[in-house]
């Protein structure tokens, strides 16, 4: 039943599949970014309490959701890599970590720039902010660990174990606003209830979420291809690819 998956364990097949997918992700990303930005910045109504500062939500929330989503998918890849020893999975972990780190940085930075006018402080050590900062350190740790070994099999295993240990932080981030008294407001969309945000504000947010998700997809696939090229650089198919122009 799952036999169709087998050819993709071969690096070249995966490389080519990734190459076919990248343009689709890029197109959807560009369109949704343009629509989401214009809608969110100019057409969505201002918040009745926070005024126009709430528009930071259109990058803050997608980046924060994707920073956790990226980590979760990284953990799935790490698990597959560790259990079934599929080296392409380790490469996927290495490809996702920097993109996830960038999203985490964006979530923290925009959070600070939103917190300053709303809470009066760039940074407070509350549960949500601190656990998200730990997520950034986890990402940086995974990247550093992966780059610390020249033997990439060992590097993949070490980075994979760290990734799996760090998964514990994901539910902590998500529930931090419920478990502890924090300054940070509760969830707006990701809960088992009606979203607590008006539809006119929600639509551009969902479009921006799509933009960030496809950005993650495109960048992850590009970096995944880089990882394959690096690991397979002495293989004939890579040489043929490089010498045959593009």
């Amino acid at each position: 039943m799952w036999k169709w998956l087998h050819p993709y364990a071969k690096a070249q097949t995966s490389y080519e599949l990734a190459g076919k997918l990248i343009p689709w992700f890029t197109v959807v990303c560009c369109i949704s970014f343009a629509v989401g930005l214009v809608w969110g910045l100019a057409f969505a109504p201002a918040d009745y309490q926070q005024g126009d500062s709430f528009r930071i939500i259109y990058i803050h929330v997608p980046a924060a959701i994707l920073s956790m989503g990226a980590y979760t998918s990284m953990a799935v890849a790490a698990f597959i890599g560790l259990v079934w020893q599929i080296r392409l999975s380790d490469m996927a972990v290495a490809a996702m970590a920097p993109v996830g780190a960038v999203f985490t940085f964006i979530a923290l930075f925009t959070g600070a720039a939103w917190g300053k006018p709303m809470w009066g402080a760039w940074w407070v050590w509350d549960a949500r902010l601190t656990s998200e900062l730990i997520l950034l350190f986890l990402y940086l740790g995974v990247i550093a660990l992966y780059n610390a070994f020249s033997d990439k099999v060992l590097a993949g295993r070490a980075a994979g174990i760290l990734t799996l240990v760090g998964v514990i932080n994901i539910p902590i981030i998500h529930y931090s606003v419920e478990w502890w008294n924090t300054l940070h407001q509760g969830a707006s969309i990701t809960k088992f209830d009606k979203p607590s945000i008006a539809l006119s504000m929600l639509w551009p947010l969902l479009i921006m979420l799509l933009a960030f998700a496809t950005f993650f997809g495109a960048l992850m696939l590009m970096r995944f291809r880089n990882e394959i090229l690096q690991r397979e650089s002495h293989r004939p198919w890579v040489k043929a690819l490089v010498m045959g122009g593009k």
């Binding site: 930071i56 990058i59 939103w114 300053k116 006018p117 960048l219 002495h234 040489k239």
Partner: protein
């Protein structure tokens, strides 16, 4: 449309600095990782090409006669 003029739009109801700081930083970070990824790819291509050329030169040198 929530804003009446461009100046109004850039002012963001007085929160302009924070809003544009956020969007600017986001744009720069995302552009940064795109550039990094593309540069890495170009570097890898160059590496592989250099390796192939080097192997060719080595083979040519080896097949030459009367050399040390």
């Amino acid at each position: 449309m929530e804003f009446v003029s461009w100046a109004d739009f850039f002012a963001m109801g007085g929160y302009g600095f924070y809003v544009w700081l956020s969007f600017g930083a986001t744009f720069i970070s995302m552009l940064g990782i795109v550039i990094d990824t593309r540069m890495k790819r170009a570097r890898l291509f160059k590496q592989v090409r250099n390796n192939i050329e080097r192997n060719k030169r080595m083979q040519a040198a080896r097949s030459m006669e009367n050399t040390l």
